[in-house]
Subunit: 216 residues, 2 copies
Protein backbone atom coordinates (compact mmCIF):
# COMPACT_ATOMS: atom_id res chain seq x y z
CA UNK A 1 0.00 0.00 0.00
CA UNK A 2 1.39 3.36 -1.10
CA UNK A 3 -0.24 6.57 0.09
CA UNK A 4 0.64 10.08 -1.00
CA UNK A 5 -0.19 12.85 1.44
CA UNK A 6 -0.32 16.00 -0.63
CA UNK A 7 -2.43 18.76 -2.06
CA UNK A 8 -3.57 19.22 -5.62
CA UNK A 9 -1.62 22.44 -6.10
CA UNK A 10 1.57 21.49 -4.26
CA UNK A 11 4.43 21.43 -6.77
CA UNK A 12 6.34 18.90 -4.73
CA UNK A 13 3.33 16.56 -4.51
CA UNK A 14 2.83 17.04 -8.26
CA UNK A 15 6.42 15.77 -8.80
CA UNK A 16 5.67 12.59 -6.88
CA UNK A 17 2.39 11.99 -8.74
CA UNK A 18 4.24 12.20 -12.04
CA UNK A 19 6.98 9.81 -10.91
CA UNK A 20 4.57 7.25 -9.46
CA UNK A 21 2.46 7.42 -12.63
CA UNK A 22 5.54 6.97 -14.84
CA UNK A 23 6.47 3.86 -12.85
CA UNK A 24 2.92 2.53 -12.99
CA UNK A 25 2.65 2.42 -9.20
CA UNK A 26 -0.89 2.51 -7.79
CA UNK A 27 -1.30 4.87 -4.84
CA UNK A 28 -3.95 6.41 -2.65
CA UNK A 29 -4.07 10.13 -2.07
CA UNK A 30 -4.87 11.88 1.17
CA UNK A 31 -5.29 15.65 1.10
CA UNK A 32 -3.59 17.96 3.56
CA UNK A 33 -5.64 21.08 3.00
CA UNK A 34 -3.02 23.79 2.63
CA UNK A 35 -5.67 26.43 1.95
CA UNK A 36 -7.26 25.80 5.33
CA UNK A 37 -3.90 25.62 7.14
CA UNK A 38 -4.12 21.92 7.96
CA UNK A 39 -0.33 21.66 7.43
CA UNK A 40 0.26 23.83 10.49
CA UNK A 41 -1.91 21.74 12.81
CA UNK A 42 -0.41 19.50 15.47
CA UNK A 43 -1.66 16.33 13.79
CA UNK A 44 0.20 17.04 10.57
CA UNK A 45 3.32 18.39 12.27
CA UNK A 46 3.60 15.12 14.20
CA UNK A 47 4.11 13.52 10.78
CA UNK A 48 6.02 16.33 9.03
CA UNK A 49 7.53 18.78 11.54
CA UNK A 50 8.18 21.38 8.83
CA UNK A 51 4.47 21.57 8.13
CA UNK A 52 5.07 20.79 4.48
CA UNK A 53 3.74 18.31 1.96
CA UNK A 54 4.25 15.79 0.44
CA UNK A 55 4.79 12.71 2.57
CA UNK A 56 4.81 9.22 1.11
CA UNK A 57 3.82 6.22 3.20
CA UNK A 58 4.75 2.81 1.87
CA UNK A 59 4.38 -0.49 3.71
CA UNK A 60 4.57 1.11 7.14
CA UNK A 61 7.42 3.48 6.35
CA UNK A 62 7.09 7.24 6.17
CA UNK A 63 9.21 9.31 3.82
CA UNK A 64 9.42 13.07 3.47
CA UNK A 65 11.11 15.62 1.16
CA UNK A 66 10.27 15.11 -2.51
CA UNK A 67 13.90 15.11 -3.77
CA UNK A 68 14.67 12.18 -1.47
CA UNK A 69 11.42 10.41 -2.30
CA UNK A 70 12.02 10.73 -6.05
CA UNK A 71 15.39 9.01 -5.65
CA UNK A 72 13.74 6.31 -3.54
CA UNK A 73 11.00 5.79 -6.13
CA UNK A 74 13.63 5.40 -8.84
CA UNK A 75 15.59 2.88 -6.76
CA UNK A 76 12.48 0.93 -5.75
CA UNK A 77 10.86 0.74 -9.20
CA UNK A 78 13.76 1.08 -11.67
CA UNK A 79 11.70 1.04 -14.87
CA UNK A 80 11.51 3.48 -16.60
CA UNK A 81 14.66 5.07 -15.22
CA UNK A 82 14.33 8.70 -14.13
CA UNK A 83 18.09 9.26 -14.38
CA UNK A 84 20.65 8.35 -17.07
CA UNK A 85 22.90 5.35 -16.38
CA UNK A 86 26.15 7.23 -17.01
CA UNK A 87 27.39 8.96 -13.81
CA UNK A 88 28.37 12.21 -15.55
CA UNK A 89 25.04 12.45 -17.33
CA UNK A 90 23.29 11.62 -14.07
CA UNK A 91 25.09 14.53 -12.43
CA UNK A 92 24.01 16.85 -15.24
CA UNK A 93 20.36 15.83 -14.95
CA UNK A 94 20.36 15.98 -11.15
CA UNK A 95 21.92 19.43 -11.42
CA UNK A 96 19.15 20.65 -13.74
CA UNK A 97 16.52 19.25 -11.40
CA UNK A 98 18.29 20.86 -8.48
CA UNK A 99 18.14 24.33 -10.03
CA UNK A 100 14.36 24.03 -9.81
CA UNK A 101 14.23 22.01 -6.60
CA UNK A 102 16.63 24.19 -4.59
CA UNK A 103 16.90 27.59 -6.22
CA UNK A 104 13.53 28.33 -7.80
CA UNK A 105 10.71 26.49 -6.07
CA UNK A 106 11.61 26.98 -2.37
CA UNK A 107 12.22 30.70 -2.87
CA UNK A 108 8.75 31.30 -4.34
CA UNK A 109 6.85 28.77 -2.27
CA UNK A 110 3.70 30.16 -0.68
CA UNK A 111 5.10 30.42 2.86
CA UNK A 112 7.98 32.56 1.57
CA UNK A 113 5.74 34.70 -0.62
CA UNK A 114 3.51 35.43 2.35
CA UNK A 115 6.51 36.34 4.50
CA UNK A 116 7.95 38.63 1.83
CA UNK A 117 4.60 40.37 1.39
CA UNK A 118 4.39 40.83 5.16
CA UNK A 119 7.96 42.18 5.44
CA UNK A 120 7.58 44.55 2.52
CA UNK A 121 3.93 45.36 3.12
CA UNK A 122 3.43 44.91 -0.60
CA UNK A 123 0.48 42.50 -0.58
CA UNK A 124 -0.50 40.42 -3.58
CA UNK A 125 1.36 42.53 -6.12
CA UNK A 126 4.54 42.18 -4.08
CA UNK A 127 4.11 38.42 -3.94
CA UNK A 128 3.54 38.28 -7.66
CA UNK A 129 6.61 40.37 -8.47
CA UNK A 130 8.76 38.26 -6.14
CA UNK A 131 7.51 34.99 -7.63
CA UNK A 132 8.00 36.21 -11.18
CA UNK A 133 11.52 37.42 -10.40
CA UNK A 134 12.88 34.13 -9.08
CA UNK A 135 10.95 31.91 -11.45
CA UNK A 136 12.09 33.87 -14.51
CA UNK A 137 15.73 34.25 -13.51
CA UNK A 138 15.97 30.61 -12.46
CA UNK A 139 14.28 29.19 -15.53
CA UNK A 140 16.30 31.45 -17.83
CA UNK A 141 19.51 30.04 -16.33
CA UNK A 142 18.24 26.51 -16.77
CA UNK A 143 17.27 27.31 -20.36
CA UNK A 144 20.87 28.32 -21.15
CA UNK A 145 22.14 25.01 -19.80
CA UNK A 146 19.63 22.72 -21.49
CA UNK A 147 19.75 24.61 -24.80
CA UNK A 148 23.51 24.02 -24.96
CA UNK A 149 22.92 20.27 -24.65
CA UNK A 150 22.27 18.11 -27.75
CA UNK A 151 18.72 16.85 -28.03
CA UNK A 152 16.89 14.70 -30.55
CA UNK A 153 13.42 15.12 -29.02
CA UNK A 154 11.67 17.91 -27.12
CA UNK A 155 12.71 16.16 -23.92
CA UNK A 156 15.74 17.59 -22.17
CA UNK A 157 17.97 14.54 -21.83
CA UNK A 158 17.44 11.38 -23.85
CA UNK A 159 14.28 10.56 -25.77
CA UNK A 160 11.94 10.19 -22.79
CA UNK A 161 11.07 12.53 -19.95
CA UNK A 162 13.03 11.99 -16.75
CA UNK A 163 13.97 13.70 -13.53
CA UNK A 164 14.29 17.14 -15.11
CA UNK A 165 10.78 17.05 -16.57
CA UNK A 166 9.41 15.81 -13.22
CA UNK A 167 10.67 19.05 -11.65
CA UNK A 168 9.99 21.21 -14.68
CA UNK A 169 6.31 20.55 -15.30
CA UNK A 170 5.12 21.58 -11.81
CA UNK A 171 7.41 24.61 -11.93
CA UNK A 172 5.98 25.69 -15.29
CA UNK A 173 2.48 25.29 -13.86
CA UNK A 174 3.55 27.69 -11.12
CA UNK A 175 5.17 30.01 -13.64
CA UNK A 176 1.93 30.31 -15.59
CA UNK A 177 -0.05 30.81 -12.41
CA UNK A 178 2.13 33.77 -11.41
CA UNK A 179 2.28 35.19 -14.92
CA UNK A 180 6.03 34.73 -15.35
CA UNK A 181 7.45 35.71 -18.72
CA UNK A 182 8.72 32.53 -20.38
CA UNK A 183 9.61 34.05 -23.74
CA UNK A 184 13.33 33.44 -23.15
CA UNK A 185 12.78 29.76 -22.36
CA UNK A 186 11.63 28.11 -25.61
CA UNK A 187 13.39 24.80 -24.91
CA UNK A 188 11.77 24.50 -21.50
CA UNK A 189 8.35 25.49 -22.85
CA UNK A 190 8.61 22.80 -25.55
CA UNK A 191 9.73 20.12 -23.06
CA UNK A 192 6.92 21.03 -20.69
CA UNK A 193 4.33 20.81 -23.46
CA UNK A 194 5.63 17.49 -24.74
CA UNK A 195 5.68 16.01 -21.24
CA UNK A 196 2.21 17.23 -20.34
CA UNK A 197 0.84 15.44 -23.40
CA UNK A 198 1.84 12.08 -21.90
CA UNK A 199 -0.65 10.15 -19.74
CA UNK A 200 1.62 9.96 -16.64
CA UNK A 201 1.93 13.74 -16.61
CA UNK A 202 -1.67 14.49 -17.61
CA UNK A 203 -3.05 12.31 -14.82
CA UNK A 204 -0.80 14.07 -12.32
CA UNK A 205 -1.96 17.59 -13.23
CA UNK A 206 -3.43 19.61 -10.35
CA UNK A 207 -6.80 19.97 -12.03
CA UNK A 208 -7.07 16.19 -12.46
CA UNK A 209 -6.80 15.51 -8.73
CA UNK A 210 -9.73 14.50 -6.50
CA UNK A 211 -9.17 17.51 -4.21
CA UNK A 212 -8.95 20.07 -7.02
CA UNK A 213 -11.10 23.17 -6.64
CA UNK A 214 -12.22 25.83 -9.03
CA UNK A 215 -9.61 28.57 -9.25
CA UNK A 216 -10.03 31.23 -6.62
Amino acid sequence: MTTLYGYWRSSAAYRLRIALNMKGVAYDQITVNLKEGEQNGEAWRAIQPQGLVPVLKHEGETFLQSPAILEWIDETWPDPALLPSDPSARCTVRGWASIIGCDIHPVQNLRILKAVAAEGGTGFEGMKAWAQRWIQSGLESLEVLVAAHDRTTPFLHGDQPGMTEIYLVPQMYNARRWGADLSNCPTLVAADEAARALPAFAAAAPEAQPDAEADV
Copy 2:
Protein backbone atom coordinates in the same frame (compact mmCIF):
# COMPACT_ATOMS: atom_id res chain seq x y z
CA MET B 1 42.67 16.80 -12.12
CA THR B 2 39.79 17.97 -9.94
CA THR B 3 39.15 21.68 -9.48
CA LEU B 4 36.61 23.26 -7.17
CA TYR B 5 35.41 26.72 -8.12
CA GLY B 6 34.04 28.21 -4.94
CA TYR B 7 34.40 30.78 -2.22
CA TRP B 8 35.54 30.29 1.33
CA ARG B 9 32.22 31.32 2.83
CA SER B 10 29.89 29.62 0.34
CA SER B 11 27.92 26.94 2.20
CA ALA B 12 27.51 24.88 -0.94
CA ALA B 13 31.25 24.97 -1.70
CA TYR B 14 31.89 24.05 1.94
CA ARG B 15 29.73 20.92 1.43
CA LEU B 16 31.89 19.83 -1.50
CA ARG B 17 35.14 20.47 0.35
CA ILE B 18 33.95 18.22 3.18
CA ALA B 19 32.89 15.44 0.81
CA LEU B 20 36.11 15.53 -1.22
CA ASN B 21 38.16 15.54 2.00
CA MET B 22 36.20 12.59 3.37
CA LYS B 23 36.91 10.64 0.18
CA GLY B 24 40.58 11.61 0.24
CA VAL B 25 40.36 13.26 -3.20
CA ALA B 26 43.02 15.88 -3.95
CA TYR B 27 41.64 19.03 -5.60
CA ASP B 28 42.65 22.52 -6.57
CA GLN B 29 40.59 25.50 -5.54
CA ILE B 30 39.81 28.55 -7.63
CA THR B 31 38.05 31.45 -5.97
CA VAL B 32 35.05 33.17 -7.46
CA ASN B 33 35.04 36.35 -5.39
CA LEU B 34 31.43 36.67 -4.28
CA LYS B 35 32.21 39.76 -2.25
CA GLU B 36 33.42 41.59 -5.35
CA GLY B 37 30.53 40.35 -7.50
CA GLU B 38 32.67 38.14 -9.74
CA GLN B 39 29.79 35.60 -9.86
CA ASN B 40 27.67 38.09 -11.81
CA GLY B 41 30.28 38.76 -14.47
CA GLU B 42 29.97 37.40 -17.99
CA ALA B 43 33.01 35.15 -17.61
CA TRP B 44 31.51 33.27 -14.67
CA ARG B 45 27.97 33.20 -16.07
CA ALA B 46 29.32 31.50 -19.17
CA ILE B 47 30.26 28.64 -16.83
CA GLN B 48 27.37 28.86 -14.35
CA PRO B 49 24.42 30.81 -15.81
CA GLN B 50 22.78 31.22 -12.40
CA GLY B 51 25.82 33.14 -11.19
CA LEU B 52 26.24 30.74 -8.28
CA VAL B 53 29.07 28.66 -6.87
CA PRO B 54 30.27 25.93 -6.59
CA VAL B 55 31.26 24.30 -9.84
CA LEU B 56 33.41 21.18 -9.98
CA LYS B 57 35.59 20.43 -12.97
CA HIS B 58 36.94 16.92 -13.30
CA GLU B 59 38.83 15.50 -16.26
CA GLY B 60 37.33 17.94 -18.73
CA GLU B 61 33.78 17.74 -17.40
CA THR B 62 31.95 20.57 -15.67
CA PHE B 63 29.38 19.90 -12.97
CA LEU B 64 27.16 22.33 -11.14
CA GLN B 65 24.67 22.28 -8.25
CA SER B 66 26.12 20.87 -5.04
CA PRO B 67 23.32 18.32 -4.37
CA ALA B 68 24.02 16.73 -7.76
CA ILE B 69 27.79 16.92 -7.31
CA LEU B 70 27.61 15.28 -3.87
CA GLU B 71 25.77 12.33 -5.39
CA TRP B 72 28.35 12.17 -8.17
CA ILE B 73 31.23 12.26 -5.69
CA ASP B 74 29.65 9.40 -3.77
CA GLU B 75 29.19 7.35 -6.94
CA THR B 76 32.70 8.11 -8.23
CA TRP B 77 34.59 7.45 -4.98
CA PRO B 78 32.34 5.06 -3.01
CA ASP B 79 34.48 4.85 0.13
CA PRO B 80 33.50 6.01 2.73
CA ALA B 81 29.84 5.96 1.72
CA LEU B 82 27.94 9.20 2.27
CA LEU B 83 24.59 7.40 2.22
CA PRO B 84 23.37 4.20 3.92
CA SER B 85 23.10 1.08 1.76
CA ASP B 86 19.48 0.34 2.68
CA PRO B 87 17.08 2.21 0.32
CA SER B 88 14.69 3.28 3.09
CA ALA B 89 17.51 4.58 5.26
CA ARG B 90 18.97 6.31 2.22
CA CYS B 91 15.64 8.08 1.68
CA THR B 92 15.60 9.18 5.31
CA VAL B 93 19.11 10.62 5.13
CA ARG B 94 18.52 12.29 1.77
CA GLY B 95 15.36 13.79 3.23
CA TRP B 96 17.25 15.25 6.19
CA ALA B 97 19.87 16.69 3.86
CA SER B 98 17.14 18.06 1.65
CA ILE B 99 15.53 20.00 4.51
CA ILE B 100 18.75 21.98 4.69
CA GLY B 101 19.56 21.92 0.98
CA CYS B 102 16.11 22.99 -0.26
CA ASP B 103 14.20 24.60 2.58
CA ILE B 104 16.76 26.37 4.76
CA HIS B 105 19.86 27.34 2.82
CA PRO B 106 18.35 28.73 -0.42
CA VAL B 107 15.84 30.85 1.48
CA GLN B 108 18.55 32.59 3.52
CA ASN B 109 21.22 32.70 0.85
CA LEU B 110 22.81 36.11 0.42
CA ARG B 111 21.04 36.99 -2.84
CA ILE B 112 17.68 36.37 -1.17
CA LEU B 113 18.62 38.26 1.98
CA LYS B 114 19.63 41.26 -0.10
CA ALA B 115 16.39 41.12 -2.07
CA VAL B 116 14.29 40.87 1.09
CA ALA B 117 16.12 43.80 2.65
CA ALA B 118 15.53 45.83 -0.53
CA GLU B 119 11.81 44.92 -0.70
CA GLY B 120 11.17 45.63 2.95
CA GLY B 121 13.64 48.49 3.25
CA THR B 122 14.79 46.90 6.48
CA GLY B 123 18.54 46.86 5.88
CA PHE B 124 20.92 44.65 7.83
CA GLU B 125 18.54 44.09 10.75
CA GLY B 126 15.86 42.90 8.35
CA MET B 127 18.30 40.50 6.71
CA LYS B 128 19.35 39.17 10.08
CA ALA B 129 15.78 38.62 11.26
CA TRP B 130 14.88 36.87 8.00
CA ALA B 131 17.94 34.60 8.17
CA GLN B 132 17.33 33.73 11.81
CA ARG B 133 13.69 32.98 11.13
CA TRP B 134 14.23 30.39 8.39
CA ILE B 135 17.36 28.88 9.89
CA GLN B 136 15.74 28.38 13.29
CA SER B 137 12.42 27.06 12.04
CA GLY B 138 14.11 24.74 9.57
CA LEU B 139 16.70 23.38 11.99
CA GLU B 140 14.08 22.92 14.70
CA SER B 141 12.04 20.76 12.33
CA LEU B 142 15.12 18.74 11.45
CA GLU B 143 15.94 18.38 15.16
CA VAL B 144 12.54 16.76 15.79
CA LEU B 145 13.17 14.22 13.05
CA VAL B 146 16.74 13.28 13.95
CA ALA B 147 16.04 13.21 17.70
CA ALA B 148 13.31 10.62 17.09
CA HIS B 149 15.84 8.40 15.37
CA ASP B 150 18.00 5.92 17.35
CA ARG B 151 21.65 6.89 17.57
CA THR B 152 24.68 5.30 19.22
CA THR B 153 27.09 8.19 18.46
CA PRO B 154 26.70 11.96 18.14
CA PHE B 155 26.40 11.45 14.38
CA LEU B 156 22.89 11.50 12.99
CA HIS B 157 22.73 8.19 11.13
CA GLY B 158 25.21 5.38 11.71
CA ASP B 159 28.50 5.79 13.54
CA GLN B 160 30.21 8.04 11.01
CA PRO B 161 29.24 11.39 9.53
CA GLY B 162 27.51 11.22 6.16
CA MET B 163 25.34 13.25 3.83
CA THR B 164 23.38 14.90 6.63
CA GLU B 165 26.50 16.19 8.38
CA ILE B 166 27.85 17.44 5.04
CA TYR B 167 24.81 19.70 4.79
CA LEU B 168 24.56 20.38 8.51
CA VAL B 169 28.02 21.72 9.29
CA PRO B 170 27.96 24.56 6.72
CA GLN B 171 24.41 25.41 7.76
CA MET B 172 25.42 25.61 11.43
CA TYR B 173 28.30 27.87 10.45
CA ASN B 174 25.73 30.12 8.83
CA ALA B 175 23.44 29.85 11.84
CA ARG B 176 26.19 31.08 14.16
CA ARG B 177 27.10 33.85 11.75
CA TRP B 178 23.53 35.17 11.79
CA GLY B 179 23.09 34.65 15.52
CA ALA B 180 20.32 32.07 15.21
CA ASP B 181 19.06 30.58 18.48
CA LEU B 182 20.01 26.90 18.47
CA SER B 183 18.89 26.11 22.02
CA ASN B 184 16.12 23.84 20.72
CA CYS B 185 18.52 21.82 18.57
CA PRO B 186 20.82 19.93 20.98
CA THR B 187 21.13 16.86 18.75
CA LEU B 188 22.17 18.96 15.76
CA VAL B 189 24.59 21.02 17.84
CA ALA B 190 26.25 17.83 19.12
CA ALA B 191 26.51 16.31 15.65
CA ASP B 192 27.98 19.51 14.26
CA GLU B 193 30.60 19.66 17.01
CA ALA B 194 31.56 16.02 16.62
CA ALA B 195 31.87 16.36 12.86
CA ARG B 196 33.92 19.56 13.01
CA ALA B 197 36.45 17.77 15.22
CA LEU B 198 37.30 15.42 12.34
CA PRO B 199 40.13 16.31 9.93
CA ALA B 200 37.97 16.18 6.76
CA PHE B 201 35.60 18.74 8.24
CA ALA B 202 38.23 20.88 9.93
CA ALA B 203 40.23 21.23 6.71
CA ALA B 204 37.05 22.27 4.87
CA ALA B 205 36.16 25.08 7.29
CA PRO B 206 35.85 28.54 5.73
CA GLU B 207 38.64 30.01 7.85
CA ALA B 208 41.02 27.25 6.71
CA GLN B 209 40.67 28.16 3.03
CA PRO B 210 43.33 29.97 1.01
CA ASP B 211 40.90 32.79 0.09
CA ALA B 212 39.65 33.35 3.66
CA GLU B 213 39.64 36.93 4.87
CA ALA B 214 39.39 38.47 8.29
CA ASP B 215 35.75 38.90 9.28
CA VAL B 216 34.25 42.15 8.06
